[in-house]
């Protein structure tokens, strides 16, 4: 994060008063704790780059087949960084957290 701040030149901006035409948005920090079950690290590494893990917690219990299809969509359509070998453990985790 520190590197991005420097690249954006943010540290130099704090000296000048903010422009009256500048509209800013502050978003709250993300504070999600997934259940500590086997495979949680697969979600952290493969999914969190794009979105909050709260997407998982927002779901109702879903059949395994549905979770498999979701993971497939995330990988094939959106390019989620999940290796082939990691898919079974990831699906197992999602079913453990929101399976039914």
């Amino acid at each position: 994060m520190a590197a991005w701040g420097i690249l954006l030149g943010c540290s130099t901006r704090s000296a000048a008063p903010p422009s009256p035409t500048l509209h800013t948005l502050r978003l709250p920090s993300e504070d999600v704790t997934l259940p500590d079950l086997p495979g949680r690290a697969k979600v952290t590494s493969g999914c969190v780059a794009c979105h909050t893990p709260r997407y998982v917690l927002d779901q109702p219990p879903l059949p395994r087949k549905t979770w498999e299809a979701e993971v497939d969509k995330m990988r094939k359509t959106y390019g989620a960084p999940v290796a082939d070998d990691d898919v079974p453990a990831l699906v197992d985790y999602l079913v453990a957290v929101r399976g039914g």
Binding site: M1, A2, W4, G5, L7, L8, G9, C10, S11, R13, S14, P18, S19, T21, L22, H23, T24, L25, R26, L27, P28, S29, E30, D31, V32, S45, V48, A49, C50, H51, T52, R54, Y55, D58, Q59, P60, P61, L62, T66, E70, T77, Y78, G79, P81
Partner: protein, 405 residues
């Protein structure tokens, strides 16, 4: 050179974000206009209200933000700006926009590409307002059975507001679409953190884009669009699901062919059947994009205790895809018979219409009330169960379950 307002990284992305993607963002334009100040000011704590929003918006996801309006606001003609639901697809929202340097780009298959400031939009084109329902295609997804993955909206991914701006067709005319102009695409300032995610972009046919209603809007209920609802400018397509209402508009591009982007050809599609319905065991091969809204009504959840022999007022809202509401009926006997509710003020064919009905429950215990709306065109909500794999366009008559004491 016009500034490009860069989407600033909204939250701590961690080490997984592709550096190549990040450098691509920098290369897209000047860095100016992208002040984050995140180094000095930590983000608000996660339990604070979202900027410009009430504290009890229902949190589905925070990154990207998907926040739902509490149902009590269905009792109001106009949804307050701080209660209007929030829905973004991709997590890099614009977090810093300079209204003085912002430019809307209009280009592609046109004679005169334009770069318009907000002041130019206001000065060059007639300003107009229209009241319209803003409803997510996936509103009430959580009510489908069997359940469908996605944002688990209840009944609050919908709101009604007055939208102010200029007509899309006027801006297009100024750019001069050339012969063969077929469709026009709309892209916003938001981005995904990975290059592999298709950029959120929607299209309209030229015929639809040249219609009376589509607006480039800068105001919601006579105030500037909240950042979370698309400041500085969004497309408004009255009567159509709000997937088309692209927020934080950056570029309008006229094409001489049909747009083949992911968010039109793969996402936001329903079975090509009369009722946009299929079964999980028999998914339809042919699909069409969601477009115009179907007719619908919702209850305002009653706040008072319902007693046998005491009059209670039921109320709610109804709307359709732009012809208006002709009647709303309630059934207290499971659909055997229906009684008309009273319709309240007509705010226009694209707005929702509030309705009221008085009821005196005759028995104690659990009871159910059904509501169904009929549009001016004659479209009526039907009780036949419908389903589609993405959970779009739900409009079965609502059932209010109560307990009479």
């Amino acid at each position: 050179m016009a500034f490009v307002a860069l989407p600033c990284l909204a939250t701590d992305m961690g080490p997984r974000t592709d550096r190549r993607d990040f450098l691509r963002l920098l290369a897209a334009g000047t860095v100016a206009g992208c002040s984050r100040g995140g180094k000095e000011t930590p983000p608000p704590p996660s339990n604070e209200p979202y900027q410009g929003k009430i504290a009890d918006l229902v949190l589905h996801t925070e990154r990207p933000p998907n926040l739902e309006m509490p149902e009590r606001f269905l009792a109001q003609d106009f949804t307050p700006n701080d209660a209007m639901f929030v829905r973004w697809h991709e997590s890099l929202l614009p977090t810093s926009i300079d209204s003085a340097t912002y430019r809307l780009k209009v280009g592609g298959h046109v004679d005169r590409p334009l770069e318009l400031s907000l002041n130019e939009l206001r000065a060059r084109f007639p300003v107009t307002s229209l009241v319209a329902v803003n409803q997510c295609a996936g509103n009430t997804r959580s009510l489908f059975s069997p359940r469908i993955p996605g944002v688990q909206w209840g009944r609050g991914a919908v709101g009604n507001a007055r939208w102010t701006g200029v007509r899309l067709r006027e801006v297009l005319a100024a750019a001069g679409p050339r012969d063969g102009a077929t469709e026009v695409t709309f892209g916003g300032l938001d981005r995904a953190p990975l290059d592999s995610v298709p950029r959120f972009e929607k299209s309209l046919t030229m015929q639809v884009a040249r219609g009376d209603e589509p607006l480039l809007a800068w105001a919601m209920n006579d105030a500037p669009l909240p950042m979370l609802n698309g400041y500085p400018l969004r497309l408004v397509v009255p009567g159509w699901y709000s997937t088309y209402w692209v927020k934080a508009l950056e570029a309008i591009t006229v094409l001489d062919h049909a747009f083949d982007g992911f968010w039109m050809t793969k996402a936001y599609r329903v079975p090509a059947t009369v009722d946009a319905s299929e079964s999980p065991e028999d998914l339809r091969k042919q699909t069409v994009p969601v477009r115009r809204m179907n007719v619908r009504s919702l209850f305002v959840p009653p706040r008072e205790t319902l007693r046998r022999g005491a009059m209670v007022e039921l109320q709610g809202v109804a709307w359709d895809g732009g012809t208006g509401i002709a009647r709303v009926e309630l059934s207290f006997d499971g659909g055997a018979t229906w009684k008309d509710a009273r319709l309240e003020q007509d705010l226009g064919p694209f707005a929702w219409r509030r309705w009221r009905a008085v009821w005196m429950p005759g028995e104690t215990g659990p009871a159910a009330v059904l509501a169904r709306a009929t549009s001016v065109l004659g479209e009526r909500q039907e009780s036949k169960p419908r389903w589609n794999r993405s959970g779009y366009m739900r409009n079965e008559p609502e059932r209010l379950d109560v307990v009479i004491t």
